[in-house]
Every structure is written in C-alpha cells, then in structure tokens.
C-alpha cells in the first residue's frame, strides 16, 4: 500500500490501464512533457508519443477526435488542461459524445474519459478556476466523477477508463500534492459514496476538495460536541442517494457544501431530491454552503470571499440548531 500523491494516483490509474489495454491512449496539450500539472510525467517514455499524444491547442479537435476515435474502437483519455477550456469543446462533449449512442439507436458507444482539472488554485482568476460539475450532471449520457483523495483518484479513474460511457472526470487542482495510501488493484464503483467521517448530528454532503474542508469543519465542531457525518459523494452522476438518505434518517439535518456557485449548482439537485423524496426525514430546513454567484477574482482576499471555508461550514451548521 504505497503512499503517493493524488497526482501520482491518477497517473498510476492511467498507466495501468494503458498497460492492460493497448486501445487506451491519452490526448491533450503538452502531454509529452508530463502535462501542465505533471500528471502524465514519464508516460511518453513508457508508451511512446502515439499513445501519449501531444496535440495542437485545439480543444474542439481534442474532444471531437476522441469521440471519433472512441467510435472507431479505441478508449481515449482526453485531457482538457483546465476545466474552463472544456468550454471550447462543449458541442463535442454535449451534442456529440453524450448523445451519439442514443441518437444512433445503440449502434455505438463512446468510451471516453474526459479529465477536467477544476477549482480554485493559486489566484488563477475567473477563466482558470471554475467548477462546472453541475452542468454535466444535467446532460443525459454523461457520468460525472470528482475524487477527493489519492485512493479515490486511483480507484475511480481506473473504473472510469474501463467504463463504456463518456465520463467527465474532474480532478481538483488544489489536491495534486495531497498524499495518501493507495492499494494497487483496488478500483472503486461509480455511484457509491464514501462516509469520510461518521457522526450522528448533521449529514454533510460534499465532494472533491470540499471533503477536506468539511473534515476540518468536523474537527472544529467536534470540540463543541457536534458530530457531523461527512459524506463524500465521489461521483455526482450517478450519485448515491441511498447513503445520503440513510445518514439523514439518523441526523435529520442536511447540509450540502461545494466550491461551485450555489445557484443551480449540484447542491440544488441534492436539496431538491431530498426535499421531494425524504421530506419527512428533515428535522430542519436543509442548507447549502456554496460560492456566491460572482466570478472568481484574482486578488487573494477577493478570491477568498468566494471560497467555502471550514468556518463557513461550521457557522452554518451551528445556526441549524
């Protein structure tokens, strides 16, 4: 059980998948030099520049070519560099990848894994910091994954690459250097949440980097005698409604926190589903702790204003009761 970083865990998943299946390949800008975050470092040496394909700056072609290459029998791993740049390839992802199997009546599948590093990281400002995971959950045909730990990045990415569906796989830029234990061969199913911390007072549902923030909040609150249960969804579509409902049956209190803008973020879907289907379990109004509907600034104090902190979460939870 090696201790490796989130970055290395992702690379390991890719490397093993490429070793096991010659039809797996990666395409994106600067991959030959390891990718912009080093998450492909060394892979070109092992697999050659055909399978670690360094592309022109052509997001639409990267995504579109991956769709065609998937239809033609390969399993591309698409690197978008920053989730924000995937906006240059949205037709290819939403109108093509997500719909091809359906429109063509099941004649073909589009097994692509689209890596979209997301989130705020080092004053990257409005065009390099977005978390648009909610968008993809709205699109039939797409699977959406957002890992929070090295083990999850390894386990979920391995599963995503093997899946026959187009997967939007969103690593968080602020987690690349986080270390943790990873058990080789231990893949994870999509759609199963992980209870990152057990607790009986409040159910806190979250994913990606916010899991760590929620765990910080849990520590603060524990000192005050409030035990929160931190549920890491791991994947947003499908998402593990059962685990959330079971926790809620215990706590009666629901908090969703995420880094993305609150308005029409995925927290809205969770609150809506829970309110519709598990209304009776709610002892208190459910709440969201999310970013305000403003773009992300460069200045660190303004950027911080958008960040959901452990303090924000614990404050919100304290006010629940």
């Amino acid at each position: 059980m090696p201790t490796i970083t989130y970055r290395e865990a992702g690379k390991l998943a890719v490397q093993e998948a490429m070793q096991a299946d010659p039809s797996v390949w990666c395409l994106g800008e600067d991959l030959g030099r390891g990718g912009v975050f080093g998450q492909y470092a060394g892979l070109e040496t092992e697999f050659g520049d055909d399978r670690i394909c360094s592309t022109p700056i052509s997001e639409a072609a990267i995504m579109g070519a991956a769709v065609g290459a998937a239809m033609a029998g390969t399993r591309p791993i698409v690197e978008m560099r920053f989730a924000d740049f995937a906006l240059c390839a949205i037709d290819e992802l939403v109108n093509q990848a997500a719909k091809a199997r359906y429109m063509f009546g099941g004649q073909v599948k589009v097994p692509i894994t689209v890596r979209e590093p997301m989130g705020m990281w080092r004053s990257s400002a409005a065009q390099h910091s977005q978390s648009l995971e909610a968008w993809y959950t709205h699109i039939p045909g797409l699977v959406v994954v957002a890992p929070s730990t090295p083990a999850d990045n390894y386990g979920l990415l391995s599963t995503s690459i093997k899946s026959d569906d187009p997967v939007v796989y969103m690593e968080h830029k602020n987690l690349w250097d986080v270390s943790g234990d990873v058990t080789l061969g231990q893949t994870l199913p999509l759609g199963k949440a992980h209870i990152a911390k057990h607790g009986g007072d409040v159910s806190v549902v979250t994913w990606s980097a916010q899991v760590h923030t929620a765990l910080e909040a849990a520590e603060i609150l524990a000192t005050e005698g409030i035990e929160i249960e931190v549920i890491d969804l791991r994947s947003l579509w499908p998402w593990d409604e059962d685990t959330v409902a079971k926790s809620l049956a215990k706590t009666g209190r629901l908090v969703v926190c995420h880094e993305a803008v609150g308005v029409s973020g995925f927290g809205a879907e969770i609150l809506a589903t829970i309110s519709e289907r598990y209304f009776g379990l709610l002892k208190r109004p459910p709440i969201r702790v999310t970013a305000p509907r403003i773009p992300i600034s460069y200045a660190p104090n303004l950027e911080n204003e958008v960040k959901v902190t452990a303090k924000d979460i614990s404050n919100a939870i304290r006010q629940m009761d």
Binding site: S23, W25, D50, R51, C53, T55, P56, S58, A60, A61, M63, G64, A65, A66, V67, G68, A69, A70, M71, A72, G73, T74, P76, D91, E92, N95, Q96, A100, R101, Y102, M103, F104, G105, G106, Q107, V108, K109, P140, G141, L142, V143, S163, D164, D165, P166, L190, G191, S235, W237, P238
Partner: protein
C-alpha cells in the same frame, strides 16, 4: 471483358445507385408532405454523383461521416433503404431505432458513422476515427463529407490541422452545392476555395466536377490509394448544385429567378443518362433501372408506413451504462 464494356457496366451501376438515391428522396419528400416524416429532411437531389462516386472508391470497412444532407451518402455506403425509411418515419426497425431521424442516420455495420445535426462537427470526429485506425494499425481510412457552409466553422481548421499534423488517413470532401440554407456561400466566405484552405494547412487537395460521377470516382480512387499508402490527408472539393430548397418544405424563393432551372439539365442523373444513351444503352434498359429503383423505394415507403412505433421503453435504453434511469413510475 474489354475496357469500354467494363466502364459501361460500371457506369450503369453508378447510374442505378444514383437513381436509388433519387427515388429514396422523392419518396421521403412525399412522406414529409404527408406528415409521415416528422422532422425536417434535407434532400440531396442533384448531388447524387458525389455520394455515389465517393463511395464507389471506398471499402465497406472504411469510415464515412456525413451531414444533415446525408441520405445519399448513407445509401451509397451500403445502408439498407427500408431501415433508413423507417428511421425517417420514426418507426421500429429504423436504422437508429427511430431515435435519430433523418439528421442522425448512421449504419455502423457498413462503416457509416453518422450524419450530424451540427454543421462541421463531423470533421473532428472523422479525424479521430482516422487517428484510431492509425493507432490500431488498420489500413482503413475515414472520409468526411461536409458542405460549403461548414468550411467557415472552427472545426474545419482544427480537424484539418489535426489530420495534417498527425498525418492521418482521412479524406475531407467539401460537397459544394453553393448554398448554405438561404445564404449564397460565397457571400460570407473569404478566399478562393476550400482547396486553398486545405493547402494552407499542409493538405493537398483538388477540385472536381461534382456532377460527373465517374470523375468523382476517379479522383477519389486516386486520393484513397494515396491516403491508404500513408501519404496523409487529402481534400476534395466537389462542385455541385442544390436543386431544391434547404429542406423539403423550403421553396428557395430567395434564389434568383431561373438560377436553378438551368441546372437541372446538368444534374448528374441526366448527364449520366446521356452518357449511357450515347454509349448505346437502350431507353428501355434505362427505364428498367429507373423502375427498379422506384419499386425498391416504393416498397420501403409502404413497409415503413405500416411499421409499428418503437416500444416506449426504448426511450430509456442506450442512454448510458452507469447511471441510466428507468421509465418513471408516474
């Protein structure tokens, strides 16, 4: 068999395929008028030579990608007319199970990777299919047909540059019918022609009379041979003319009076018929080919008409494996 006989038999075959496309579309238009076809359809009447000439140069396992105006390409690649007609009618047994309709016709069993409702989107997808063939060490090639309007969208540049940079086995074909919806393409298109654009991206190309089926077949065959030999991508600019409106309901009133009239005589079917007659093929043989095509498509029409609708549960199938949903219990 001496060469000229061979050529005539080949020409007859091409003529027959063009007639089949024409008949298919005439029945499709009739079906649209009768509200049997529900979504928009985009007839390729007058453009049959490009479909037939190109596909004659391909193997069945070569990939073909097409456009919203793709019935002809699909038939020429070998798809079944009845399954296509059922698709246009939205019926069970449709080539896409009735879920796609005219703009999403595809038949993966004959290498036809789909029409597309988004102009130019297939250019990158085709580059990717060719990329896969190269990675897998196959000697297949990918052919992507698109319109004169498509060359003004970003994917044209990105896909051609991609194919050029990776030296991919892909043939790009601009089927230039001079119109993009109600717009005369040259009014909104800078530069001389798509060949120049391809050249500037490092891709060789040439223009051809797109209404001359044998010329199209010949140049395509030559390009396909080069591409299959590893020479990299090529672009073919096939000049033709859209004889009808943009869709089956568009009267094309925006077109200068008489512009289309003169073009009917230059239509590839008329031209090929003239060639056949001059080569000594009898009127009766020609009539028989026509009748045969009409009979096939009439049968497809009648059969499609009585085909059942898809099962409602089909609405929920083939969405995705992970996270798919069941029919709502409401």
């Amino acid at each position: 068999m001496p060469k000229s006989n061979l050529d005539i038999s080949r020409l007859k075959e091409r003529y027959h395929t063009m007639l089949r496309i024409r008949a298919f579309e005439e029945f499709a238009i009739k079906a649209a008028d009768e509200k049997l076809v529900l979504g928009a359809i985009h007839p390729s009447i007058g453009q049959e030579a490009c479909a037939v000439g190109v596909c004659a140069a391909l193997r069945q396992d070569d990939f073909l990608l097409s456009t919203h105006r793709g019935h002809g390409h699909t038939l020429a690649k070998g798809a079944d007319a009845l399954a296509m007609m059922r698709e246009l009618f939205g019926r069970e047994g449709g080539i896409c199970g009735g879920k796609g309709g005219s703009m999403h016709i595809a038949d993966f069993s004959v290498g036809m990777l789909g029409a597309n409702g988004v102009v130019a989107a297939n250019i990158n997808i085709a580059a990717g299919a060719a990329h896969a063939a190269k990675l897998l060490g196959q000697d297949k090639i990918a052919v992507c047909i698109f319109g004169d309007g498509a060359i003004n969208r970003g994917p044209f540049l990105e896909g051609l540059n991609w194919a050029s940079a990776f030296n991919l086995p892909v043939l790009f074909i601009c089927e230039d019918n001079q119109w993009a919806s109600t717009t005369r393409s040259k009014d909104v298109t800078g530069g001389d022609d798509p060949v120049k654009r391809a050249n500037s991206l490092g891709i060789k190309g040439e223009s051809v009379d797109g209404n001359d089926v044998m010329a199209v077949e010949e140049v395509t065959t030559r390009m396909v041979t080069e591409i299959r030999a590893g020479a990299g991508p090529r672009l073919l600019h096939a000049k033709t003319y859209r004889l009808l409106g943009h869709t089956s309901v568009d009267k094309a009133a925006y077109r200068p009076d008489g512009e289309a009239d003169g073009k009917w005589a230059e239509c590839p079917i008329s031209r090929t018929k003239d060639l056949l007659i001059r080569a000594g093929v009898s009127e009766s043989e020609i009539s028989k080919l026509k009748a045969d095509a009409a009979a096939e498509m009439n049968a497809a029409f009648e059969e499609a008409k009585v085909s059942p609708w898809p099962a409602i549960s089909d609405a929920y199938s083939d969405v995705q494996d992970i996270g798919s949903i069941k029919p709502m219990d409401t």
